[in-house]
């Protein structure tokens, strides 16, 4: 398997994370690069979904990926195999990325020639939601086996996200998961949340998600 570049990122020195995040967005806007922050629990299928998303969009968009993990490079190696530029960010035990860590990653990745950069955040529904990374949009994945009560238990992440991708709908028959309830609970937290039920494994629903993403990228980069 391809070896990938591993970057050790450290907690930011910036006192005002939000200001730093705004600065990152300004830079990205000038460069015509869209940054997506992808969050979820461990094991929700982030990397598989990302691989399918890359396959769907890589002929139309120049894509780069930053894989954040406490340890290991297993995800970045999988992403590198899709042919897009990919780096691994090691957080040294930290449970989230802040704007400064993201900026460090963006510099190491190199973004000038990219239309879309995806930051795969640390698998965690709590802490990543508290830090603006400088992303243009925040997306989260909730997988069917995790259950439909998660918006009740992890409110903040549903509030800060623009998009909720409900993954692993292919295994819905084997779990007590109520899609209407998750819509209701999630919209209680955030009435504007876009929701895409998908199976990254079978491909079901993926077009709606990738079309939405492509449209967002084109709007950001061309207006």
């Amino acid at each position: 398997m391809d070896k990938v570049k591993i970057i050790e990122v450290k907690e930011s020195i910036f006192a005002d994370n939000n200001k730093e995040a705004d600065r990152i967005r300004e830079e990205l806007k000038k460069e015509k690069t869209f940054l997506l922050n992808l969050m979820s629990s461990p094991g929700s299928g982030k990397t598989t979904l990302l691989m399918r998303t890359i396959e769907a969009l890589k002929d139309e968009l120049r894509i780069g990926v930053m894989e954040a993990d406490i340890d290991s490079a297993v995800d970045a190696e999988k992403i590198a195999a899709t042919g897009v530029r990919s780096i691994q960010l090691h957080t040294g035990g930290m449970c989230h990325l802040d704007a400064g860590m993201t900026e460090h990653g963006l510099k190491e990745l190199g973004t000038k020639d990219l239309d879309l950069v995806v930051l795969e955040n640390v698998g965690n529904l709590v802490c990543p939601a508290e830090f603006d990374t400088g992303a243009v949009k925040n997306a989260m994945i909730l997988s069917v086996p995790e259950g439909h009560d998660k918006p009740l238990k992890y409110p903040l992440i549903f509030t800060v996200c623009d998009v909720l991708i409900i993954n692993k709908i292919d295994v819905m028959p084997y779990f007590d998961f109520d899609l209407e309830k998750v819509r209701e609970y999630a919209h209680m937290r955030n009435p504007n949340l876009k929701i895409f039920p998908v199976s990254a494994k079978t491909g079901e629903g993926m077009d709606a998600w990738t079309n939405w993403l492509k449209q967002q990228v084109n709007e950001w980069n061309n207006t």
Copy 2:
């Protein structure tokens, strides 16, 4: 549904969390009460597993439960329905419990007449692993849909746990999950880790887990 007592716990004032945790264990030892800290990702089936564990042991042990969550009381209400004493700890956005927060909960629950207290920690594989809560043993649940690579990506929690419960083995046919690999990876992190594959839903494997727990409780309380 029964209303449960909800306690707002705040980050500890104790500078030395480990010292405070040791003090909690000393108190528990005197009282003959065993504290189990149960950790996992969101949606791994912690509450269902706990309900089945209570059903198996409640005639032999006097059990109490502290449900930690950022928001909501859905889990504590389910546990209360099993007939054991249960309180809900709200962490106010915090991603973990420390020893001081645990002690606050133990006082509110009242432990003198209990043999076993289970702390259901916040659903998170990262932050809870960093704080000794004062528990006698740490257990974690990894569910089959999360994948067998988790010990590579979240090393600390596998290192600090005494027990790994692999839940949802009933859905193994629908997922790419290699039980032997997870054993290998987990034992790389912690050669002493006890591993119990179970399905809290069907009951498969639950006896081995509950027998182990009962034995641990009896050893702690009677020696």
